[in-house]
Subunit: 432 residues, 2 copies
């Protein structure tokens, strides 16, 4: 069978392990994750296996890896991929700066792949022994939204009981069919559950189960919990999980996953006023309107000193300017975001809002001819770094109703731009 | 139990019935549909029951009703709703011009609601007899994407066997749990199926099954096929359905449903050139670029005579103009779409592409100052009628690379505008 590649990654994991074992969380033993990612994706109706399908510029599997990287008490992540996807996987790890990830070749079936991953946790490519984890979590590369508290429940139950698995209520009635394709009987829904991922095992339990199981289990089996029961006598503890455990199976599920990520990314924006009274007034009005549209808005005058903290939050930015272009300000935000690698995992939106105030209250002047072109150039460069820059222009009005309508429009457009994140529309100077 | 409301709707169905029975399709007997829509939507995590959740300006249940209205051999649709949703449901039927829909009060459980719907097909509100259908299809309001050919299979099998139901392979392993929450055993996946909707029944079979079944069946049962087997000895024929039968259950499923509808709506655009050579050249270039982006593009010079047929297709429009505003052309498309009620069920996109050609090849002039404002006004009015108007401006260049880049940008922006359908961005004049 195939052996792990990139053992170099692994020593780093072992080093991190001690650090975390001394940590504060209740998990005071080493935990690793195996992510089988060898599926061919037949059911999505797409050419690319679904774990490698991309939304918001990033493949699904990278979202799943990130989920585990965020959990401080998980020491290492083993991804099991088909041989033909190995280069692609290494490229993804490199591009999105994933750490503590070991990539292992898959086997010809799901169980063979998982066993390869499990074995790589205690055995080096050359057969040398490694410090095996106490508990191993087995998950799917195509279930990106599992949460830390649920992983904790599975891990603790696995440690105590030897095995634990997520279950969900059945969505449909399950029926048995006759050989001729007729209804034989239907199962009583309350007595059965759907077995989902993640599952957790004491390392020795799952390792032994795989060593003892038959070729037929390797070939046709699907359920790790079943192997633990049959070959190690370990009855898994079953824990009801949240609906977010769901598995990306069809093309439509990719749209659903994208909508979940977009919603998370679109909840907050930081408005930078530059300090002028007019900009501050506009910022406060925007804050009210955008809050009503479910966006959390923070107003700051600049990004200097303590305010620079905003750059490290998962926020989008709205830079205001009155009667003057503020490409230097936008450029400063851009530079700071790039330096902090803020757009590595998710696109970030910057909206430049240009407030046009004419002294005499008459028809206000447009920004000078060069601005749309400069704006487009800035945005084109930013897009290469996964930062989406848009502009909105509005005219000041002394008439309260008109002014209120303009502000409302800026709020709506900003929310739409942040939510949609359309790469094709970056660099546009929109009118409110 | 509750009785049907709005019997007036019903006589229309009976009248249509004769017409269709004489039709060409293989279904030469009357077929009706019952759509239980009384769910409370707890699982979506939304306040509105999911069948009434809206995407692209229309509630989910209207998409499902439309699916059945498109099938010529289905004579009538009974929607069963909770009492508190009755007004909302009548409003939806009115707003989206649904025909042949009878609305019935739901009961306290799913089976009671379905029985109310089934009974309303043979009994008027006042107890008078109605011409009952031969076959009744039972479906869910929250499965909007069922296709005609599958409905035909279910209907024909129901007529022959007395009952038929859709099945799907199990997505997860099904397990039995012990009382203490441990794994008891897992089911062999190949022997079981998930029972889905639609299901079809000879009217008398399902009617009798409901008349004979117990209070406990009404209270706790979920499976109509099971009642037909138990009380009428009818073994349902099981037919494997496509993944599109899936049920909108969670909030994320609404995003998935929206993406499916958007994809369907975003496949084609009709470019209207106005006849000039320069516009025709641009149109042909756009056709090439947009085809590469999976958009079917038709080029016509105007919408007069035979070309007017394009207005009745499910297409979006791109109106080109060279060196002149073409609000009158856009206005004409708008008027024609409104007259044909084209935007009743789905928003339609019109993009005005303004090609700026300067005689001397120097920096081209902007459109006159009034145009952005006039454009916004036009778009604001159109939006009320569910038509989304956007503008794109581009400058002609004699330099082939520059020109090619501009055309490519118009193509990309047009595809993005048609795909995203953002109401907040209508009326904008974008730069290519």
């Amino acid at each position: 069978m195939d052996r792990p590649v990139e053992p170099g990654h692994f020593s780093a994991c072992e080093a991190r392990l001690d650090k975390h074992m001394a940590g504060l969380c209740s998990v005071d033993f080493p935990v690793a994750v195996v992510l089988p990612a060898g599926g061919s994706g037949e059911r999505t109706g797409l050419l690319t296996p679904k774990q490698f399908c991309t939304f918001l510029n990033r493949p699904l599997i990278s979202y799943t890896i990130q989920t585990f990287e965020r959990v401080p008490w998980i020491q290492s992540i083993v991804v099991v991929v088909a041989k033909e996807s190995l280069d692609l996987m290494m490229d993804i790890i490199h591009r999105f700066h994933h750490r503590n990830v070991l990539v292992v070749h898959g086997g010809s079936t799901r169980h063979r792949s998982i066993f390869n991953g499990v074995r790589a946790l205690s055995e080096g490519e050359d057969g040398t022994a490694r410090v095996k984890p106490k508990v191993v979590i087995i998950h799917d590369a195509v279930r990106p939204f599992v949460e830390e508290d649920f992983l904790l429940k599975i891990t603790m139950a696995a440690k105590e009981q030897g095995a634990a698995g997520a279950i969900r209520p059945l969505v449909s009635t399950v029926i048995a069919t006759t050989l001729e394709g007729y209804l034989d009987h239907s199962l009583e829904r309350t007595k059965y559950r759907a077995s989902e991922m993640p599952q957790g095992f004491i390392y020795d339990v799952i390792y032994q189960a795989y060593q003892r199981c038959s070729e037929s289990d390797f070939e046709f089996g699907t359920e790790c919990l079943h192997l633990a029961l049959q070959y190690c006598g370990t009855n898994a503890k079953l824990i009801e999980g949240p609906p977010t455990l769901w598995k990306v199976t069809y093309k439509r599920d990719l749209a659903a996953a994208e909508s979940i990520v977009k919603e998370t990314l679109s909840q907050s924006a930081c408005v930078v006023t530059g300090g002028s009274a007019q900009a501050t007034e506009l910022a406060n009005a925007l804050q009210r309107s955008m809050s009503a549209l479910d966006m959390e808005v923070d107003v700051i005058s600049d990004l200097i000193g303590d305010n620079a903290k905003s750059l490290s939050k998962e926020w989008n930015f709205i830079q205001l300017s009155v009667n003057s272009s503020c490409f230097s300000e936008v450029g400063r935000i851009l530079g700071a975001l790039e330096e902090a690698d803020r757009a590595l995992l998710h696109p970030v939106v910057i909206i430049w809002v240009y407030l046009n105030v004419s002294e005499d209250g008459s028809s206000a002047s447009e920004p000078t001819g060069g601005e749309p072109a400069a704006m487009m150039e800035l945005a084109t460069g930013a897009k290469l770094g996964n930062i989406l820059v848009y502009g909105i222009q509005l005219h000041h009005s002394k008439e309260a109703t008109l002014w209120g309508r303009s502000v409302e429009k800026v709020a709506q457009m900003s929310c739409a731009l942040i939510r949609d994140r359309s790469p094709a529309l970056t660099g546009q100077l929109l009118q409110a």
